[in-house]
């Protein structure tokens, strides 16, 4: 369980997070949604420790992550995997070496065990053998995201964080990536946190959803329940979302 307690963050005069509390459920796909500028990226980066919040706590299974010393944080980071918006694969390494990279740093496995683990993870995200020696830049956006997922899970983390994993992908590939994230979450029992503004993702994989607006948490609950909400801000967000725009257009 990831517990977020009273997180605040400001950049200069601009207050981006205004004291947010949320519980991100273990073994589930937790989605943080909201329109651009709602503060969801700053929220995710505060949870993973890329941004130091001004106030508040992040507890990872009861461990106070925000108050930890850097040395202890480094140990705990090996329990985390992250998929970035632009994949953030290392362009100086091949696809296979990208996935092997965390193992080379932190694993005590033998070379053959590492080979097996890398092959397993790449196979799990359905990357063909022919792509292993390629440079990440030679792959399509969807394949890059899948390699990024393989790299994120190679150390068998407890927590998986995904920052807008569908960004820049066509709707069909987005669904594939969503399903992959959901499958992996349930298969390995990870606590997954996905940052998105895609309503399809909310309905498809949102075990638990947090809606943010202007630095506040507006709504929290199970994914499909968002459609039942009578809260005006929630209704506004859902109605404005791309999916419903298309539905409205189709119904006209």
């Amino acid at each position: 369980m990831i517990e977020v307690r009273g997180i605040k963050k400001a950049f200069g005069d601009q207050e981006v997070l205004k004291g947010i509390d949320m519980d991100l459920k273990p073994g589930q796909c937790n989605l943080i949604i909201g329109s651009s500028g709602s503060g969801k990226t700053v929220m995710l980066k505060s949870i993973v420790g890329l941004i130091q919040p001004d106030a508040g706590q992040v507890l990872l299974d009861g461990r106070d992550w925000t108050a930890m010393k850097e040395r202890d944080r480094k140990v705990l980071r090996q329990e985390m995997g992250m998929v970035f918006q632009g994949s953030a694969l290392f362009t100086s390494l091949s696809v296979e070496d990208n996935v092997r990279f965390p193992l080379d740093f932190f694993s005590t496995m033998s070379a053959s065990e590492k080979d097996q683990r890398v092959a397993f993870c790449l196979d799990r995200v359905r990357i063909p053998q022919s792509a292993l020696a390629k440079n990440p830049a030679e792959l399509s956006g969807g394949m890059q995201k899948r390699v990024a997922i393989a790299r994120a899970i190679v150390l068998n983390p407890k927590y998986l964080f995904c920052d807008e994993p569908n960004s820049g992908l066509d709707p069909e590939t987005s669904i594939v990536i969503d399903q992959l994230i959901q499958e992996i979450t349930h298969e390995f029992g990870m606590t997954t946190v996905v940052n998105t503004h895609d309503m399809n993702s909310v309905l498809e994989i949102g075990d638990h959803v947090v809606l943010m607006r202007h630095g506040y948490k507006v709504w929290e609950g199970a994914g499909p329940d968002i459609l039942q909400s009578t809260d005006q801000e929630v209704v506004d967000y859902v109605f404005r979302s791309a999916l419903f725009k298309k539905v409205r257009a189709a119904l006209k």
Partner: protein, 248 residues
């Protein structure tokens, strides 16, 4: 403007503090170090050879023309060319050229890693990006730049000799004697000390500019240009300071 300079200087030293931390995995750092030796050092050899050969040739031609006097033996032309290459041309000019080639490479590669979130990815994994990405580059530069400069000295002397002989500007035997006449080994120490300092300046300043890039591809290019300007200023300044300290 002055406060901006001191803020930048403070940020640079804090950055160096982050770079010189204990590596998470020595083995991985060494692997990265050897990659950098190949990328930054080995790939610079053809450029250094080309520049040094012609630099030596030009220096011989200019010196021979200016010392074209029956009372000045060719031996002194050889001495002048040797001292010129050893004291200034090989360490300083080659370092300025490497600032353009290697420095802009370091700055743009780190800048690209910053804007594409590759550094964030390292940080999330628990790897110190400043140390892992920059320390091997500094190490490779400190090791390989002196080798390049020694190479440059020999190539410069060879270029000078060949030009003097082919163009019949000097008597080759007398000119060659000048290369060995009253040779002071301390000048080699001076040249290599300068090179080590310049290597540190090039690798650390360019890395600092690249590491803190914000924005996109345009900002990466701007940071690279700023880095080359700052490195050139620093090299010229430290060239004067080291010469004053070591040769006075």
């Amino acid at each position: 403007m002055l406060s901006g300079f001191f803020r930048g200087l403070g940020s640079y030293f804090l950055f160096l503090g982050a770079v010189f931390r204990r590596p998470e995995s020595w083995r991985e750092y060494f692997k990265s170090f050897f990659r950098e030796v190949d990328l930054l050092g080995m790939s610079s050899i053809p450029l250094v050879v080309f520049i040094s050969l012609f630099m030596g040739a030009v220096l011989t031609i200019q010196t021979a023309i200016n010392l074209d006097d029956p009372f000045i033996p060719d031996l002194y032309i050889g001495v002048a060319v040797r001292e010129g290459i050893l004291l200034e041309f090989a360490p300083t000019i080659v370092s300025l050229i490497l600032a353009g080639k290697v420095g802009s490479n370091i700055s743009s590669s780190l800048g690209t890693m910053r804007v594409t979130e590759q550094m964030d990815a390292l940080q999330v994994m628990g790897i110190n990006p400043a140390s892992y990405l920059v320390l091997p580059k500094i190490g490779a530069s400190l090791l390989f730049f002196p080798i390049l400069v020694i190479f440059s000295i020999f190539m410069g002397l060879l270029g000078g000799y060949l030009a003097g002989d082919w163009l019949h500007l000097v008597n080759p035997d007398n000119f060659l004697m000048g290369y060995f006449d009253e040779f002071q080994p301390y000048y080699v120490v001076y040249a290599l000390t300068k090179t080590v300092v310049f290597a540190f300046i090039i690798s650390s300043i360019s890395a600092w500019y690249g590491y803190y890039v914000k924005g996109g591809a345009v900002e990466v290019g701007k940071a690279s240009t700023k880095a080359v300007v700052a490195m050139s200023f620093s090299i010229i300044l430290f060239n004067y300071i080291l010469t004053d300290v070591m040769l006075q």
